[in-house]
């Protein structure tokens, strides 16, 4: 039926693979940095000189995680999904291949810069301008490949995953460019064009929607594609997918100012952001309900199809996340948990519980498919699953408790109106929670190492297979 030769797909599949390997490489570095900085919280004496200080390793962890691990995996997986849903190879395969090298160069330059102390000092956008420029070029080229392939598709109908991919590609392009409007002052320093209240508003419009596109919309594209694939069950309701998609897109871009509650941002902007945040529960839960109703057809697949639990637990944490987030936006809740570790718990339930499970689940699906073989070991995949699940839950819960305690101590006042606790007293109480957080992190990273091992062994098996066929 298809007019394309096998070789056309082979080249694109190699590009997908290269993205996945690159992302795993950066991910391992960023994970190690994460565990290390969590130790520095309760053992600050271990702080090293230069690039070994907490400040530099922390921004390395965050930015290399978001742009190296997550973005790298997502671009590769977007290519993979787009090919299959449009029923054709990528439109510009050579450009797609080129984006792999550009991607690695950008992360290397940006990550090295952070370790050397060169930072734009904008949250989730810390790489200095040369790396950001590379990312912009990378993103434009990737957009040309993906949008071009979709325009020239061989399947008329567009499945929901393609809508989420388009939304991610467009949104991230707009917000990243606007938040990178800077004036360079030399190779290693630049100044943003927005300042003060405007700067804060732009920064969190960016920050919220960077999370919204990378960690939400993009991950939903994967979820809608790989849940049916790995369970053999079609998505419950197409209409629900579509309504949830458009209402999510409608509301997300308004919600950024919920990061700036009780600041000099005008009251009405905060109010709009909070109202939109509350509204977001419905579109988010549209996907949660759709996922559950899909697998409700046969819950037995949680046992028989090992990937089912990655996606179902993933969407469950997404569901918790999208009730917790809107609640945090409310003024009364924000005033307690803002500036505390609670938010760190929120972030990591999303990152370790939702994104990591869905992305690793997708990679487990893709790598054997590309080699036309099976995963090296389902047992190791299950071990990986239980370890990352346990690690993440320990992490999130300890940070929620620590956060409420910090918030309560920050708010406590004496009868004469003075603060009851000093910063030092609050931090001293955090030590046991921070130690537990490290425990959770170590368990999580151990799980991820099982994942990496499993993938490497599958690749080895696949290569041997290819060699035996040749």
């Amino acid at each position: 039926m298809s007019v394309y030769k096998m070789g056309d797909y082979h080249y694109d599949n190699q590009t997908v693979r290269k993205f996945i390997y690159s992302s795993i490489f950066w991910g391992v570095l960023a994970l190690i940095a994460g565990v290390w900085i969590s130790i520095l919280f309760w053992a600050p004496g271990l702080n090293g000189p230069g690039w070994l200080t907490y400040g530099r390793l922390r921004s390395f962890h965050v930015n290399v995680m978001a742009f190296g691990l997550v973005l790298g995996a997502l671009i590769g997986i977007f290519y993979y999904i787009t090919i299959r849903l449009t029923k054709r190879p990528l439109l510009f395969p050579k450009i797609a291949r080129f984006t792999v090298y550009l991607f690695n160069l950008a992360i290397a330059v940006g990550g090295w810069g952070l370790l050397m102390g060169y930072t734009k000092s904008l949250a989730y956008n810390e790489f200095e301008w040369p790396a950001s420029l590379l990312i912009v070029i990378l993103w434009v080229l990737m957009a040309v490949v993906i949008l071009g392939t979709i325009i020239k598709r061989k399947e008329e109908q567009m499945y929901i995953s393609l809508w989420y991919i388009i939304a991610t590609v467009v949104t991230l392009a707009v917000i990243y460019v606007v938040n990178n409007l800077v004036v360079p002052a030399g190779l290693f320093k630049s100044y943003p064009v927005f300042a003060g209240v405007n700067g804060a508003n732009v920064e969190w419009w960016y920050g919220h929607n960077a999370v919204g596109s990378e960690l939400t919309m993009a991950t939903l594209a994967l979820f809608y594609y790989f849940l049916p694939k790995s369970t053999g069950l079609p998505i419950y309701s197409h209409r629900l997918s579509i309504i949830a998609f458009w209402s999510l897109i409608f509301a997300y871009l308004w919600a950024g100012a919920h990061h700036l509650v009780y600041t000099p941002i005008p009251d009405w902007i905060q109010t709009v952001a909070i109202a939109m945040s509350i509204f977001l529960i419905a579109p988010s839960w549209g996907s949660v309900v759709n996922g559950f109703y899909t697998v409700r057809e046969d819950w037995g697949r949680m046992r028989t199809h090992y990937l089912t639990k990655f996606f179902i637990l993933g969407i469950t944490f997404y569901g918790i996340q999208t009730v917790q987030g809107p609640t945090q936006a409310l003024r009364v809740v924000s005033s307690l948990i803002h500036y505390t570790d609670w938010v760190v718990g929120h972030v990591h339930m999303g990152a370790m519980g939702w994104d990591a499970l869905v992305i690793t689940g997708a990679i487990y699906y893709i790598i054997p498919k590309i080699y036309d073989t099976e995963i090296y070991s389902e047992k190791i995949a299950n071990t990986h699953f239980w370890l990352v699940l346990t690690g993440q839950i320990i992490y999130s819960i300890t940070m929620w408790i620590a956060g409420i305690q910090e918030g309560a101590m920050q708010k406590a006042v004496n009868p004469d109106g003075t603060l009851k606790y000093t910063w030092d007293q609050i931090v001293a109480k955090d030590i046991p929670y921070w130690q537990f957080r490290t425990l959770g992190g170590v368990i999580f990273v151990a799980g991820m190492l099982f994942f990496v091992y499993n993938i490497l062994m599958t690749v080895r098996k696949g290569n041997a297979l290819v060699a035996s066929k040749a």
Binding site: S2, M6, Y9, N13, I83, R84, L85, K87, E155, Q157, Y159, I160, Y224, Y225, P228, K229, L233, P234, I235, Y236, S237, H238, R239, L240, I243, S247, Y262, D267, W268, Q270, T271, V272, I274, A275, M276, I278, F279, I281, A282, W285, G286, V289, Y293, T294, R331, K369, I370, D372
Partner: protein, 62 residues
Amino acid sequence: MADDVDSQEEFEAKETSKALPGGWLLLFIGVILFAIVYFIAYTPAISGWTQTGAYEQSLHNK
């Protein structure tokens, strides 16, 4: 390779493709109503509520 293209049937359940679960629809309408009420109640130009006003009020209540 067999898996390089997909068919739409794998992805969309036929019988339920137009279903909207009642509980979810209720949630959808509920949060829209909440958002409207919240917007009216906390927008200075509509209700007169302001952040600084609320702060000063809280000092009196102490």
